[in-house]
Amino acid sequence: MAYQLYRNTTLGNSLQESLDELIQSQQITPQLALQVLLQFDKAINSALAQRVRNRVNFRGSLNTYRFCDNVWTFVLNDVEFREVTELIKVDKVKIVACDGKTCDAVG
């Protein structure tokens, strides 16, 4: 079981929307859609773990922090993200982080 964390990404949300459309048109069942999402969770987790190799550094000021159910949620302000190739600045960013040591499904 992989984290369902990545469902709230562009990729995950677009998949969910597409599945919703198919459910609405009754081409698939909600149960099947759930299975698809579980498959997505596995695929994205493994893709990130294996196919992505880059590193990012960032610095900013911490506005809030929250740790609940082993999930950290931060809100940072005036953050600079540095990659080898580029620099990205944002005024506000929210970070949601699950425990990287265990691999429990978070519903």
Binding site: T9, S14, E17, L48, R59, V84, V96, A97
Partner: protein, 477 residues
């Protein structure tokens, strides 16, 4: 050195993996392969449409390619030659100079890589449906995304050149466009045929709204009426139609239809007029002279009406009051329409109405003074009551508010202003466009210095996506 962004490839591979992974599931459920294909297409389309990977997946042009042809023979008064422009609707910016357009004196075709397209003055554009537009003011055509293709009711200087039949055909198509006559009649001057793929306003909106309005407004009110009526009549009579002035006054919202592809053309009226009335009072030279200032005028208009007065004063002082009024109304309309895709448009009505602010402010000051003594005692009482019902934290805030009750009364809700500061921030605080979803290896804190060791993350900044295998960060709380 990572020159290529890994995101699009990664996304594609994930999509492929998932589709393959569920293929068996679909088969078990007895669902057709077609449904799986539909799912994949939907998914890919949504991902492509999002800003996350737009720069990567898209290969510039696709879809609507429209041809702007400028029949050379019909333009004898144009300074620059006619050219036919094939403008594909693509994302990359494209601009071409006057030289490119005006170089040839015969019909020429230009393929533009995409929006925005800068159309210099003097070019006559013919839309794919055959409608001709003559550009007397440099215009910029941009493409906004995802809007209904309805032309703004920009008042269009619409010049038909040598093709009366087109005018007639144009007329019915113009209806949605709702060209707004410069007069304040409800009558709409709809001379702009809808040409969805053709042009429309990103940046152009503001500028050319102004152009349109300024040009149109410059003539006196009678002239405008004449123009609109003449235009309509000419449309029906399939004569040449030229409307002095420009483009499209931002009166679209009256039609209630956002206009995406807007062809903004300002035609030089006088010279090619067949009908007399339209060109009254508009010598060509004046029109030409106006074009440069029009842009400034329009800009000024967009960002405040007051500044508009000055440049306009130099041109047509007599028409200022009426024009300004119309421009204001037009501005409101345009703002309503274009707000969605241009966040920079400044709203001049409502709370943003500069002219009324002073009045309100002065009035409120007077009222404030009058009520100071009365309110103060009452406020204290009210605040105390509120404090009881709210948490202690709030009551503390209330006590501080008690010191300045009159200010609270005047400016905001006196009972709750200043309260709940932190509570209000929290929901907004966690609602942001920039999100990172990841896993943490280690989170460390020392006093107020935090260190983050994150991994396997997907970042979304303003819609654009990034990924990382590891991220290390520092922050001070």
């Amino acid at each position: 050195m990572a020159c290529v962004n890994p995101v699009p490839k990664l996304y594609r591979s994930v999509i492929e993996d998932v589709i393959e992974g569920v293929r068996d599931l679909f088969a078990e459920e007895g669902i057709e392969e077609q449904v799986l294909k539909v799912l994949k297409q939907l998914w890919e389309t949504k991902v492509l449409q999002s800003k996350a990977t737009e720069d990567f997946f898209r290969n510039s042009t696709h879809s609507p390619v429209f041809t702007l042809q400028l029949p050379n023979s019909l333009h004898q008064t144009l300074q620059s030659s006619t050219a036919s422009l094939v403008i594909p609707a693509g994302r990359p910016l494209a601009s071409f100079t006057t030289a490119e357009l005006g170089a040839s004196n015969s019909s020429a075709g230009f393929t533009l890589p995409g929006y925005p397209i800068h159309v210099p003055a003097g070019v006559t554009l013919q839309t794919a449906s055959g409608h001709l537009y003559k550009v007397s003011v440099p215009i910029m055509v941009t493409q906004t995304s995802g809007r209904a293709s309805i032309l703004h009711p920009v008042q269009q200087v619409f010049q038909q050149l040598g093709q009366p039949s087109m005018i007639q055909t144009c007329v019915p198509r113009l209806n949605p466009c709702s060209l707004q006559a410069t007069t304040e009649k409800s009558q709409r001057l709809e001379t702009v045929p809808q040409q969805p793929p053709i042009l429309h306003s990103g940046v152009v909106h503001r500028k050319h709204f102004e152009n349109a309005t300024s040009d149109i407004l410059v003539p006196s009110g009678n002239e405008r009426e004449i123009m609109s009526e003449a235009l309509l009549s000419q449309l029906e009579s399939s004569q040449y139609i030229s409307v002095p002035g420009v483009m499209f006054p931002p009166q679209v919202s009256q039609t209630g239809s956002p206009v995406e592809p807007v062809l903004r053309v300002s035609a030089s009226v006088t010279q090619n007029l067949n009908g007399g009335p339209l060109s009254t009072g508009r010598p060509g030279a004046q029109h030409q002279h106006m074009t440069d200032t029009q842009l400034h005028v329009l800009k000024n208009r967009m960002f405040g009406c007051d500044s508009l007065k000055q440049p306009r004063n130099t041109e047509e002082p007599s028409s200022l009051p009426v024009s300004e009024k119309e421009s204001n109304s037009q501005m409101d309309l345009s703002n309503q329409v274009t707000d969605d895709d241009i966040n920079e448009i400044i709203q001049i009505d409502g709370t943003g109405d500069t002219s009324s602010n002073d009045e309100i402010g002065s009035t409120r000051d007077v009222d404030e003074n009058e009520f100071l003594g009365i309110v103060e005692a009452r406020d204290l009482k009210v605040l105390e009551e509120e404090a009881d019902s709210i948490s202690n934290e709030d009551s503390t805030a209330n006590s501080s508010d008690n010191e300045d009750p009159q200010i609270d009364v005047v400016e905001e809700d006196p009972l709750n202003s200043g309260d709940d500061v932190s509570e209000q921030d929290v929901p907004d605080l966690f609602d942001t466009d920039n999100v990172i979803v990841c896993q943490y290896d280690k989170i460390h804190r020392s006093k107020n210095k935090w260190k983050f060791y994150l991994k396997d993350g997907v970042m979304c900044f303003g819609g654009r996506d990034y990924v990382f295998a590891k991220a290390i960060g520092d922050a001070e709380w």
